[in-house]
Amino acid sequence: MAEAIAFYALSVLILGFAILVVSTRNTVHSVLFLVLNFLCVAALYVTLGAEFLAVIQVLVYAGGIVVLYLFVVMLVNLKRPPETHQDPRRQTLTGFVLAGLVLGELVAIAVYSALPPTPTGGVASVQGGNVERVGYALYVDYLIPFEVASMLLLVAMIGAIVLAKKEL
């Protein structure tokens, strides 16, 4: 029962903040709603027994990525808001239609692959804590992908520095 209450409350918060992120005019407000959205998603991870992911979510998303976004929003000081420029050929309706098509596709996949609900066992009954198990899987079974991911981050860092240089 408590699980259901937490799930529905967090779902409403997540979807509400997501809608605000997409619909707010002011970009700074949009970034702040994104932080709230990430925090609610982190709370959802906690209810799912993924504490390590929740901490990573708060640190990397709410702490790192969002600060990056805020910096860019502040650096890109908009003298004229981008939404005022109206492109006559712009097809907002087509965008909504395409998004609706993606929704239909997702619903079709969910309907076709609907499996009967199997009861989930208790979370805490598994050996070792969540961090321990994630760390074991990450450093033993998925060591090579982990190193590749670190390589990707290095390349992204160098790329971002090169792109943000004064003369490109």
Partner: protein, 100 residues
């Protein structure tokens, strides 16, 4: 009783909100934030099934998704800054240098 279907619906709704943001908004920073929403929807799915099967590998893949999202944000925002320095705009309708 919360089943994986509930999480799939939540994740699909978040995904669709992100897709609508990408399709409809013109501010490229908001489009990037919508992409982050989409990646979050994917992560919710991964964690929900990791919980369902009591298997930690879903969480490992969610970590990889977060790493890719961080890389994407860094490079994307670098591109935005470089573009803004040249054209003084963040409107994607004016970003058509590579468009036939």
């Amino acid at each position: 009783m919360i089943t994986p279907a509930h999480y799939i619906v939540l994740s699909a709704a978040l995904f669709i909100i992100g897709v609508i943001g990408v399709m409809v908004r013109r501010n490229i920073i908001i489009i990037f934030m919508s992409i982050e929403l989409i990646l979050n929807a994917v992560n919710i799915n991964l964690i929900a099934f990791s919980h369902q099967w009591q298997n930690v590998i879903g969480q490992v893949f969610a970590i990889f998704v977060i790493a890719v999202a961080a890389a994407e944000a860094a490079v994307g925002l670098g591109i935005i800054l470089a573009f803004y320095r040249n054209k003084e705009t963040v409107n994607i309708d004016e970003m058509n240098l590579l468009k036939w």
